[in-house]
């Protein structure tokens, strides 16, 4: 078998189209700011200033938009064309597009659903109308679905499929003995002769399992401590704020080095920290139910009971690896990384929540609840927290992106997960030395990390804009 080309049979038509679109985009992107500035300078007074950019700027602006659409169309043609042509005519891009079909299907379905029920979905519905938010959502959902369907998408096992002769091979290389396998390493082989494409997809699963969950835990901790600090104030606030500032003043890397060194792990420090940090979701939920359903004891008891039983079971398994049924557990390496990430993120969340609480507690509806005689926890959790959800949601998205980068940083210093783990940070670190010569093993996960974080940031941006507009 021969090596695959990037574009397959579609190349001769689509590559020139793509190039033309790119050139047009570059020209328009250069010309537009110039035209804009020129327009301002030429404007003869207040009328021009109010009427916006001049005619030249409008022209270049239109060109910019047009070339963007052309570029998008060309790219879409690659994907759709790649999907549709017969297998032997597919290039690398076409084959990747084909492997990703569960992602396209789910993406299409979910966007169609959102569009259909746009009115009823509130913030999420509005997001589709916001270009930044829509692109961000699409990027994020792409990786979420890629992570979900990783087993279907990846043609090879990301860890155990080490195929002799495939070390550092370029994209599209056929296997020496393709019988009974997918036959090609679509994005080449890495230094240990594993499939780069499969590892990138499997890496999404690792990253998206850790980053959002760790961020969520950090939020639980930050909220559970930040609400009373802001609402009750006093000594408690003083103490908690001091502790938060203490952790924040630590250089993150030093903290990681100290927590992740094998000696400290052997002493069980991360396990004890997990024992403390993983309690917070339990506390949070218990207080949540308790404050809300104080007047309905049976429901309260049922909810709290369920939380404690279910949560306690998860807690024992995750933090102490002591699940009596042996189902729930977390690998030691993952636990350390998880705990460290939660630990450095929680204080920032704490500060944000505290600041928001300080602001919101002076509002009328809080005063009204106080006069109604509601307890402090009810006010914090059911009056203040819902009204702080906008900024918190935005921060949540941003923080997932930041956590993803942090995981990569850990991988960079060799502090993160096991070396064969397909997560992106570890892969980048493993491949970066030979980037000039064998670019794909580090470049593919690098693009993946950038696109996911970009998606998160764009999503956060869209959310911020839309929640401000509300």
């Amino acid at each position: 078998m021969e090596r695959l080309s990037w574009t397959g049979a579609l190349g001769p038509w689509l590559v020139p189209a793509l190039e033309a679109a790119l050139v047009a985009l570059a020209l328009a992107a250069l010309a537009h700011p110039l035209a804009l500035l020129a327009g301002y300078r030429l404007g003869p007074g207040p009328e021009a200033a109010r009427s916006g950019p001049g005619r030249a700027a409008r022209l270049t602006g239109g060109l910019l938009r047009l070339s963007l659409w052309a570029l998008a169309a060309a790219l879409a043609a690659f994907l759709i064309g790649g999907l549709l042509v017969p297998p032997e005519a597919k290039g690398i891009l076409g084959r990747i597009a084909t492997r990703l079909w569960p992602v396209w299907l789910s993406l299409g379905a979910s966007f169609a659903l959102v569009a259909l029920f746009r009115r009823r979905l509130g913030l999420l519905g509005h997001l589709l109308g916001n270009p930044a938010g829509a692109v961000g959502l699409a990027l994020v959902m792409f990786w979420v679905f890629a992570a979900l369907f990783a087993d279907q998408i990846a043609p090879f096992d990301p860890i155990t499929d080490v195929i002799a002769g495939m070390k550092n091979k370029p994209p599209g290389t056929p296997l020496p003995a393709p019988e009974g396998t997918y036959g090609y390493y679509l994005l080449g082989g890495d230094a240990l002769a594993r499939d780069v494409f499969s590892r990138a997809v499997a890496g999404a699963r690792v990253v998206l399992a850790i980053a959002p969950a760790a961020t969520l835990f950090a939020f639980m901790v930050g909220i559970t401590l930040g609400l009373p600090a802001g609402y009750l104030g006093g000594r408690l606030d003083l103490l908690l704020s001091f502790l938060a500032n203490l952790v924040l003043a630590f250089p993150v890397i030093l903290l990681f080095f100290l927590l992740v060194t094998p000696e400290i792990v052997a002493m069980g420090v991360p396990t004890y920290m997990a024992g403390a940090l993983f309690l917070f979701p339990l506390i949070f939920l218990t207080i949540l139910w308790n404050s809300r359903f104080r007047t309905r004891p049976p429901l309260r008891a049922a909810l709290i009971g369920a939380t404690l039983v279910l949560g306690g079971w998860l807690y024992a398994g995750l933090a102490w690896n002591a699940d009596p049924f042996g189902v729930v557990s977390m690998p030691a390496g993952v636990l350390i990384v998880f705990v460290s990430v939660v630990f450095v993120n929680a204080p920032s969340v704490f500060r944000i929540v505290r600041g928001l609480t300080l602001d919101i507690r002076t509002r009328d509806y809080v005063a009204a609840a106080q006069t109604r005689g509601e307890g402090p926890w009810y006010i914090m959790l059911w009056e203040i927290l819902p009204n702080a959800r906008g900024p918190l949601l935005v921060d949540f998205c941003l923080r997932i992106g930041y956590t993803t980068i942090l995981l990569g940083t850990l991988g960079f210093f060799g502090l993160g997960l096991a070396p064969e783990s397909p997560d992106w940070g570890t892969s980048i670190n493993a491949g970066r030395g030979l980037l000039q010569f064998v670019p794909f093993p580090p470049l593919v996960p690098a693009v993946a990390i950038m696109s996911l974080v970009l998606g998160m940031n764009l999503l956060a941006d869209g959310l911020r804009e839309e929640s401000l507009r509300e």
């Binding site: 537009h32 700011p33 910019l64 002493m267 670019p439 950038m450 970009l454």
Partner: protein
């Protein structure tokens, strides 16, 4: 104001005290001390030799006592051999061959002695001073490129919210904040510094910058630090600018018939830059993480490298000094940003 600053300095001292105690605790756990003994006296020494090394060199006393010795409030004992010669102890580190009666009894921070770096085999103060100077240079250049660029981008984008220019520049700044240093640095080196790609404009190693930073050897590390930090400041500036542009007094100025350019330059800019100022100051500690990565990537022996080396080799005194410096940097920039904010914005008074 003076009271405010004194109170903040007090908090700073307390934070430093707590932080150093935590670092001390973690670095002085028994397995870490054993690791230190093995890196110092040879990897193949026996367990008995490890124990005697720990005792002899003053690591054997209870943790709190030794923390007191480091602070300089407790005397550090001296180990002597049968002939009464000094053979080890906190105050003897770095001064081998000192006679027993010449060794000071106290040698802690209060005496101005920050200890001895077991990794670099020099007094900690020397190491830190030299490294801070180098990192300072890197940071200075990074800020000098990052801040003006970010402000220009932010102001241009925020001038007309929602315009194509705004969208383009905003996406650009989001993209830079989405590209971590370990990605951008690696790509920079591959593109601009390798024989294989051929564009050997810069060097991918900043080691020679120690003797003298040049355009060639310092550009890539500076660009890598600056790029990641730039997007954030630019977006803050944009938000602040966009907010100012909708303010009442700007509308008034424009209704008065002032040109758009004049409105932006004379009225909007000054007020729009107050918020980014605090952000810029708060970037300092945040950049520290980036500096650690960049120094490792470009082999630049600065403060970040000292941190990594200290942590990898369990260099206790060095790590304690590093964390004190970190606390001071973080809290001092916070203080400066608060004061600066108050000075720039006459409506706010520092309580």
């Amino acid at each position: 104001m003076a009271g405010f600053i004194i109170r903040r300095l007090g908090v700073m001292a307390l934070t430093a005290l707590c932080m150093t105690f935590i670092v001390f605790l973690l670095t002085n756990l028994q397995p870490n001390l054993e690791k230190l003994a093995k890196t110092q006296a040879g990897a193949r020494i026996t367990d008995a030799e490890v124990a005697s090394w720990i005792d002899r060199n003053g690591y054997g006393a209870p943790m709190l006592t030794r923390y007191g010795e480091w602070l300089g409030v407790l005397p550090a004992p001296l180990a002597t051999d049968a002939d009464g010669r000094a053979v080890g102890g906190r105050c003897l580190r770095g001064h081998p061959g000192l006679a027993a009666d010449e060794v000071p009894r106290f040698c802690g921070v209060l005496q101005g002695d920050w200890g001895y770096s077991t990794k670099f085999r020099r007094p900690v103060t020397e190491v830190i001073a030299e490294r801070l100077q180098r990192t300072g240079l890197l940071m200075a250049w990074a800020f000098a490129t990052m801040v003006p660029l970010a402000l220009i981008v932010g102001v241009l984008a925020g001038m007309r919210e929602g315009s194509a220019l705004d969208r383009g520049l905003s996406t650009l700044s989001i993209a830079t904040t989405s590209t971590p240093e370990y990605v951008s640095g690696v790509i920079f080196v591959a593109l601009f510094a390798s024989s294989m790609v051929g564009l050997k404009w810069f060097t991918g190693s900043a080691k020679s910058a120690v003797e003298g930073a040049t355009f060639q050897n310092f550009t890539l590390p500076v660009a890598t630090v600056a790029l990641y930090g730039m997007g954030y400041i630019a977006r803050m500036t944009r938000a602040s600018m966009a907010e100012v542009m909708t303010a009442q007094y700007i509308r008034t100025a424009r209704l008065k018939g002032l040109s758009f350019r004049a409105v932006v330059l004379r009225h909007a800019l000054r007020n729009a830059l107050i918020a980014p100022f605090t952000v810029i100051m708060l970037q300092f500690p945040w950049l520290l993480t980036g500096v650690v990565i960049v120094e490792a990537l470009f082999v630049y022996p600065g403060f970040g490298d000292a941190l990594v080396q200290g942590a990898q080799n369990n260099d206790i005194d060095l790590l304690l000094a590093v964390s004190v410096v970190a606390v001071i940097v973080v809290l001092a920039t916070q203080l400066l940003s608060d004061i600066g904010y108050a000075l720039l914005n006459p409506r706010i008074r520092v309580a």
